[in-house]
Symmetry: D2
Subunit: 337 residues, 4 copies
């Protein structure tokens, strides 16, 4: 239930304000050389406190690797790692112990488990994505060794499309008014060979959708022409095949987003993920506590006005994990290899 | 790879023009009384040839149950069933044996497997959704016994929103011009208790996304405010909790679509799925064969101009399968029950 | 729960006296050419009624393949198949509807499910091994194409070791006295390359143990020196490595049974499986019915006095399934292949 | 591949001489109160260096819990934990970097992965069982709260059956001669309710066999009458059902070892596991290095002459994990609960 992947599998653990978050990455093939600095660089991209646009919480986010390597080469055994939590000023959250924050998972967790670590959201905090970034960073390096690149970027923030400056402006404006904004991230995976993904239970886009929807605050997933393409005619969105100068089958357009029938066709894999506005805002909101008593809640402390900047490396991580997993699983597709 | 679900699991098999499609449903709790006519009625909704809007292919679509029942009560053992293929005029497809149909899975299957059953799309045909409808129909009956209902309906076809007549008009118009249209289906699950879904690897919306994206031609998934909500401010989409007259925690709005932190909160679960236009159209399209030789392809024979009418029961089936599975898995969430 | 395997996976269904048993084999690599007569031959080995030593029940045991093949070549899609039950004279079992047969699963099924198909044991019948033999026969052919052979044979029946004649004599004697006997089957897999099996959760011998213990009436599993080896000294059972004339690392003895640390070492894989005596005997036994009323039960009808002759091909099937699965999974062990 | 269990799942990581071993326990129901001292006590039972009978290696074996608890109550989220390795004098192993130790996994690991952490056996060391003991200790406490107890004890060491003194004598004698001995452990689970275990793919004894065979040095598994029972007649080993004074169905004998058809019947679950002699002995053995050059190897340093004393708590842990897992999974067996 806390595992993502089939062959390359990351099982995570950790609450926001517990001693550490971390995970075990299983199914890592032996013999991959890893640049640990590059892993740290990916974690740094996700880390809060990097700019005026993100939360002030100071997380060191250094992953300690405990197994699975001989020097910097993977052994084929599972990679265990932890990331210590620090700056966990739990008292910031004391007033919220029994309050249900609107649009948070407080009530749904209580309904499910009958017990909840309320400090910083506990298991429902975005803090739990840090281990996923570690798993993504390792997958990414393996993919790069095969010429596969994954890149994500915002295409809309707070309803604003266009330049980065405009989108940053939307965040700044929301922050000033004590409010928050959401947005849309696009992710492109290039160099993915044709043939990965499974036809029914593990369609490549279904695995990508599942992985992306595992990111906190994600509300929608589409690939290729997506929702907009639902309004097109079949003749308008045909990706006409042709044979390129190397004799490779390509398509003249890519409305399909690089996936046909759940299996990659060698074109760029293109997808977009929608994120809701951060629910924790300074504007007072009406709510109840766990006994049903009415209350008013206005967030104090450190919170992002927008998840998009920090979600970009997480989206890349989930794409890398999923594609790497599909690539490995595909080794079993043909008997004669 | 051809299995959907964790506890309640459906593994399907079958090619479009082979002897049969079918499946095994495992993890069915013992003691559910099933109305087989209601299962047949769900299959009938998916069946082609029902109206001018859908393909003329005559499929009987009768499921033969081979195991798992004593009379009409589930035994707890797996339910095996088959649906014989009929009217499989393979010669209709002879001219397409080596051609890559644009926006179909022909090339991607060849790239993956090096072999392909080209007749009617083989394993990539929408025919393979029939077993999923059977699994959905059984799950649906169990859910109904607990007051949980699942309903889907089109909200957009060919870019047209509004009345059913308008949407049907869009299909008719596409058919006349030898073209096709896509659309968007909304699905609502009501009566789902708070607390189902898993927090990270099995978020309820991630499982729903994965299930829906397993349907042929699906290109996008969103729940709650989805993509549109990415443009809102946090203060605009807060679902304010309150205690209702029965002392139950509810929310005054449902921007969250009934799921918070991956776990149901007791409100209606609301999601939308985008489908692309049917790629098989009568308008000639340029393509290549498996040797890279240029060719032109215009579909003959029987094809839907739009998947939406037949996709509606499939969407309901996938929702029912997923919610039933999550409901069962949730029995392990608390130690004291 | 009714699935065996990780990559090459067989999910079975069927009750003894329902319409059919069958299964879906998923994870079959594309491009394996299958001899269907050889599959039928394996089923025939398991079939009852072949000699005076086995039950008189006349099962046709013909598998009907419904998917997954183009001609006789695997497509990479799941292989669905059914084996119709015939000669299911249910009335033979009417007197046992509510009786708990000693050493059968009648009571444990009732305790688990609260409902039970009592006819011929329902899901607990050895009939359910027929689909496993189909999956094994396909795996076996693939393995043979790589020089891997699997062979099983009885080493003890009714406490008698020695010649086949002696062991057959033990069965005949048991039958005459209305009693039954058990026995031990040894199975050797030769030609298995070094390196297959996973180190912890999927040790090759653990997978073999699990597969063998899935066979009806199996009570014990050992590999290499097994239980007897527990009495040896370390110096007595050392498999000393040496380099053979081809420069391949071999061991001078094979106390390890071809597996070290859960991973094959290239020597013959040797295992033994213990089977209990058939619990259904003509000698009257005291029991109770589901209300706890005392009763006496003496089997009438057709029953084997010993499972060993028919278990031999099942043991081979389980070995083939497990080794084929491990062979495929091992394709992901190294990054550079 | 490094995961054991279906609902209650432990994924372990760690090499013998890396920074730490540890794991993530997923699927833990919320609301279990855990006594951490009792967990530590179980780890202490497995710890080496406790008596003259076990290795002198000084392992602190203190588990640090990183997540999954609020105070000492489980949250339902995964339990991450690590056990630091200490006293890892790697130089002890320098002379064995390229040598293949007889009856160890050195060669098979090289064959599988092409890379190996030779220090102390790396991933193939018995050190990796420590995380399993942690998972077992938690499962055990939950089981005890339901009246289920698990107990293991040696029944044979070095071929000696009888008193503990005799068995200890066999170990002492082996140590003095620089040799080693194996043995057999029996394990009994009492209080297990009837009805747990799955009929085919997850028979309770198959899961127990798989779990037990995951323990280092395990070579055989049997339950009930096991291998010896294969020599009995059906009439000799019938467990005759009767209704006890509470109206509960019991059996007068327990040749079945508490499991019929893969499902518990409420009697004691009784199983035995065979362990081979420790392969690391002081007596010189011939071997080769990874280039095939002949060499002679005699173990220096700290090694157990027998695994049995330390394997007892591991056997209990594996039994507790498996039974707890089956107990949880069984919550989905019936629709009406």
């Amino acid at each position: 239930m806390n595992t993502i992947g089939t062959i390359y599998r990351i099982t995570t653990f950790g609450e926001s304000h517990g001693p550490a978050v971390g995970g075990v990455i299983d199914g890592v093939p032996a013999g991959i050389t890893i640049d640990f600095d590059a892993v740290a660089a990916q974690l740094a991209r996700r880390r809060p406190g990097q700019s005026a646009l993100t939360t002030a919480r100071n997380e060191s986010d250094a992953a300690e690797f405990l197994s699975g390597f001989l020097g910097n080469t993977t052994l084929g055994s599972p990679i265990g790692f932890i990331i210590r939590n620090s700056d966990t000023r739990s008292s910031d959250y004391d007033n919220m112990a029994r309050l249900y924050r609107p649009n948070h998972a407080d009530y749904s967790y209580d309904a499910k488990y009958g017990i909840r670590d309320h400090r910083g959201g506990g298991r429902s905090s975005a803090r739990v994505t840090a281990p996923l970034v570690v798993a993504g960073a390792i997958a990414r390096q393996a993919l790069e060794q095969r010429g596969i690149a994954v890149q994500a970027y915002p295409v809309e923030i707070g309803g604003t499309r266009g330049t980065i400056e405009d989108m940053e402006g939307a965040i700044t404006q929301a922050r000033r008014s004590g409010d928050s904004v959401g947005g849309i991230i696009e992710c492109v995976a290039s160099g993915v060979p044709a043939g990965i993904g499974e036809p029914i239970g593990g369609k490549l886009h279904a695995m990508l959708a599942s992985a992306m929807m595992s990111i906190n605050a994600a509300k929608g997933f589409e690939y290729g022409d997506g929702f907009a393409g639902a309004a097109a005619r079949g003749s308008e969105c045909a990706d006409l095949p042709y044979s390129d100068s190397d004799g490779r089958i390509r398509t003249r357009a890519n409305h399909s987003g690089g996936i046909q029938g759940g299996i990659s066709n060698g074109e760029d894999i293109v997808m977009r993920i929608a994120f809701k506005p951060v629910p924790t805002i300074a504007i007072p909101l009406e709510t109840v506590d766990s006994d049903g008593n009415a209350a008013t809640l206005a967030a104090r402390g450190r919170h992002d006005p927008c998840v998009i900047p920090r979600a970009v490396p997480i989206v890349e991580a989930m794409a890398a994990i999923t594609i790497f997993d599909a690539l490995l699983l595909n080794r079993c597709a043909k008997w004669n290899i």
